[in-house]
Every structure is written in C-alpha cells, then in structure tokens.
C-alpha cells in the first residue's frame, strides 16, 4: 500500500512560482518585486471588527452561503460599484477566497473531457484547477500587441469556439491589463455565439486606474452565462483572511454551493465579520491604497520607458509586464536575482503568451521600488 498520486495530480507540474521563491529565499538582502499580494495591512476598522467578533466568541460556522448580512453588503457593493444586480439569497456565495470559488465552478459545471478556454497569461491556478476537474484546457494566448486584452481574433485562432467554458481575468495578474466595456463586447458576442459559460475573475476590479472597471456580466445576454468572482484579498489587503465570493444565476450558485456545503461548510467566520465592516466603512481606505498603487505604477512605467525597456501601459492590479530584454526570461530573472538581488517573476510561469515578459509587482513602498529600478537599470547597462 503506497500513496501514489493520482494520474490527475501527476499530470500537474509543481508551480513555477515555487521554484523562484526557493531561489529568492537563498538571499536575505533582496528587494522583491515578485510578490502577488498587497504590502498594506487591511484597513484597521476591518481588523478591529474581526477582533471584536473573536472577543464575543462568534466563531461558529455560518450559513453555507455565508452570513446574510455579508451577502447583502456584497450585493449592494456590486450594484453600486459595478452596476451588477444579484440577489443576496440566491445569487451570492461567500467562498474561502476566489481560489475556492473558481475550483467550485470547475467542478460544478465541467464533465471529464469538457474543454475550458483560458485567456493567458493568467493566474497560476486556472489551468491546474481545470485539470483537477478532469477537463481539457484550450490555451488562449493574448499578446503585447493587443496590450494583453482578449480579442475575438485570439479566441478564434485558439479554437475556443469548441470549448464549454471561457475563463478570463481583468484587471489581470500577471499583465496588469484591463479591458473597457467596448473591448469586452466582442468577447461577449463570441461567448453568446458559441454558447460558452464564462468565469470572470474580477478580484482586482477596484484597482483599475485608467477607466471604470467593466464587468462582462453587465453586457447584454451575459448575466445568465457568467459567474463573477471577487474577494477581499487585493483591494482590502486581506489575503491571509481567505475570503472571496461568487455571483451568478441562482442555478449556478446552487450547484457550486452543493460542493461547498460538503467540502467547506462555510467560509472563515472571523474573516466574514471583517468583510462586513470592510464593505460598510472602508471604501476610503481602498481608494487611498489604490491611489498609492497608481502613483507607483506611473513611477515604474516611466522608469522602464527611460531605460528603453518596452512596457505596455499596464492599467490595473499592481503589476507591470515589461518585455524581457533577453530571449530567455527565466535566465534573465535568475541572473537579475544573483547579480542585483532583485526578484521579478518570468512570464513563462503564467502560461501561454507570457514567455517573453517579466512580471514586476509594485506592491512595495516607493523607496524600495526606486532602489530596485536603479538596480535593474544597472544590470541592463
């Protein structure tokens, strides 16, 4: 009797991020632009609400779908901020991070052999998650020439028409790309024409700098075929509290909740208390954090421009995605780490279309950012 990993598990390689993390851990004097989470602490009011709930001993399970008060606040925020209309009782599910939500959607709607079209470069869990659910992944690479937006041409070229489901994420990790309503329209049309379900990861929605965030679910005929994911990790800097939510048609949420009620019971209770407070009173803190990211974004983009490094004007999340000055991005990132003690992540880690670029996170104070950019400049010259 041995624990031999299943074929599904065996078919998924360990994450490329992990390898870079281990390399970076060998040095203790690095400046890391490789971090995929905020450098801020969550707004104090939210932390305080979590502490108060612990003091009151409010640590039992909640309703499977999450506390009603939280679902109401989520629905109100979605309506207010993004023009999305969801019923808190039937169309909202509170999850243990967006991560759980995506996994639930895969398992709820995919049968073995179904195809999932994944717009890439993308967050590292989309592809393994689909594999764990027994589905096949159709790579849909996006291109620097399109500023990493998803186009109809990219969908057509990749054969996404034959898929059951499309996964997209704007603002995007790792590229920092965003999409306007007009840019989303052809994608929505494609999804309607080919009858695709859509998973839209909008966890960075509040960190959109050049225009209003637009959700694909607000486009005609899209609400009924889309599940929108959002959460508290990025805009509220609550990564370790592990809280997110999914919003979609009642039958979608019911199916996802069928899995969630058995495998998770309910999302972390303490985090739900923090999240209610976050939605009700912390908008100002979110705006302030977003303003700081935006300034750093401009700083980084202008430094790359000065260095002559090609970098499209990333407009969301907290990443820039410059073109790698060398052909081999992995080798570049390793050499930069060894030589200058600056960590960036090679784009190859994030799937198709990312090979020629580097992910540079600006979730770091300006002092460190300035120094890191100076070191990159020194490395290049």
């Amino acid at each position: 009797m041995t624990f031999e990993a299943s074929a599904r598990v065996e078919s998924v390689p360990p994450s490329g991020i992990r390898r870079f993390f281990e390399l970076a851990e060998e040095y203790d004097d690095i400046i890391s632009l490789g971090v995929g989470e905020p450098d801020f602490a969550p707004p104090w009011a939210a932390r305080d609400a979590a502490i108060a709930s612990l003091e009151r001993g409010q640590t039992s399970y909640t309703a499977n779908r999450g506390k009603r008060e939280l679902r109401e606040a989520i629905a109100a925020h979605a309506a207010d901020a993004y023009d999305l209309s969801y019923d808190p009782d039937e169309e909202v599910l509170v999850t243990t991070g967006v991560s759980e939500g995506i996994d639930l959607a895969y398992r709820a709607f995919l049968d073995p052999g179904d195809a999932v079209a994944v717009a890439q470069p993308c967050y590292i869990s989309y592809i393994p998650g689909a594999t764990f659910a027994g589905a096949e992944v159709v790579d849909v690479p996006t291109r620097a020439a399109d500023e990493f937006t998803l186009t109809r041409a990219a969908l057509e070229r990749s054969g996404a028409a034959d898929a059951e489901m499309l996964v997209l994420c704007y603002p995007n990790n790792p590229t920092g790309a965003t999409m306007t309503r007009e840019e989303l329209e052809p994608v929505a049309k494609f999804a309607r024409e080919h009858d695709l379900l859509v998973l839209s990861d909008e966890v960075y929605a509040d960190l959109t700098y050049e225009h209003e965030h637009a959700s694909i679910a607000t486009l005609p005929g899209m609400g009924e075929r889309t599940v929108v994911f959002n959460g508290f990790s990025k805009a509220y800097a609550m990564t370790g509290l592990r809280l997110g939510y999914a919003m979609g048609p009642p039958e979608a949420i019911t199916a996802m909740n069928r899995i969630h009620q058995y495998t998770m019971l309910s999302a972390p209770t303490t985090a739900q208390h923090a999240a209610i407070e976050a939605l009700e009173t912390c908008e100002g803190a979110v705006t302030e954090m977003a303003a700081q990211y935006d300034r750093r974004r401009q700083f980084v983009l202008s430094r790359f421009e000065e260095m002559g490094v090609d970098c499209f004007p990333a407009s969301g999340a907290f990443y820039a995605f410059p073109e790698c000055p060398w052909d081999d991005g992995d080798a570049f990132a390793e050499a930069l780490l060894e030589d200058q003690r600056v960590a960036v992540v090679p784009g190859s880690v994030f799937g198709a279309g990312g090979e020629g670029n580097l992910r540079v996170s600006y979730a770091t104070g300006l002092g460190q950012l300035r120094e890191a950019m100076n070191r990159i400049e020194a490395f290049l010259s």
Binding site: S15, V35, D39, Y123, Q298
Partner: protein
C-alpha cells in the same frame, strides 16, 4: 485629482520625495513639479517642511504640554489679538482656536517641566484676557502627524508569490 492636488497630497505624505519622484508618480515633468511647488509655497498653502521626530528617542527629551486656555473678549480685543500675542513666543509650537469647553488649544515645548510651568505662569497666565489655563503634560506619544510610533506592520509576506 489635478496634478496640483496630487503633488500636495504626495508632499503631505512624504515631504522628501524628490522632484524626479513626484514627476514620475504624477506623470508630469520636473519643471511642472517645480513650478507647482513654488506656487504652493508662494500662495502660503505650504508653510514649511519638518521632520516627524519621536521625542522619547532624544537625549535629553524635550517636554511638551497641551494647554487649554479660556479667555474673555472685550470691545478692543478679539481672538486674533490674543492669538497673535501668544504665537510670537518661540515656546509655543501650536495654537488653535477650538470649539467646546475652552477657547484656545496651545502646544508648548521646553527643556524641562519647570521651564514649561514657568512659561505658562509667567508669560501666558498674566495676559489680561486669559481667565484660566489647564496644563496637560505629554507623557507618551503614540502617533504624530499621521505616523504611528509603534513597531508598525511587519512585512511577513513570502518573497515571491502568485
């Protein structure tokens, strides 16, 4: 936000940002930043730039007090007259007219408690319009100008993460 407001917000956050930093963060050029800052200074919007210091780390530690002042006004003397007189003393680091139970909130600094007491009793209390002073010595400072004095929030993030 206009670039003027943006630059002001940034300087209020950190007055030591360089002109180059400010230009990059607000997507303008250095000349524009210099002009904007000069205008803000000239118009008296920006009154000065100072370091935020944790006094408990100074040797010897200066003594500070918050003093509540009550005044009576008459036909010849208004709040501004009294304020102007008090503000001239170098020992007075802050002076605000406030609403509520007292009229002025005064911030006084000196080398020792006796020096501060002497200043209040000899220079402030004798001002004819001042009817009452209540002095609160600062015992511990937790936050000044928006900056917390604790150890702050440690960066416990992994060095590379998804």
């Amino acid at each position: 936000m206009s670039s003027r407001e943006e630059i002001l917000a940034l300087l209020r956050d950190n007055a030591r940002y360089t002109t180059d930093d400010l230009a990059r963060m607000t997507d303008t050029d250095e000349a524009t930043v210099e002009e904007t800052v000069a205008a803000l200074e000239e118009e008296g919007v920006i009154k000065g730039y100072q370091a935020i210091v944790d006094y408990s780390k100074l040797e010897p530690e200066p003594v500070r007090a918050a003093v509540e002042l009550n005044v009576t006004l008459d036909r010849e003397t208004g709040y501004d007259d009294i304020a102007q007189r008090l503000a001239k003393f170098p020992e007075v680091k802050g002076l605000r007219l406030v609403s509520g139970d007292f009229d002025f909130a005064l911030e006084v600094e000196g080398d020792s408690m006796s020096e501060v007491s002497r200043f209040i009793s000899e220079k402030v209390a004798p001002v004819p319009e001042i009817t009452q002073t209540v002095t609160h010595y600062v015992m511990e400072s937790y936050k000044e100008h928006g900056v917390e004095f604790g150890d702050g929030h440690d960066d416990d993030r992994l060095s590379v993460s998804p």
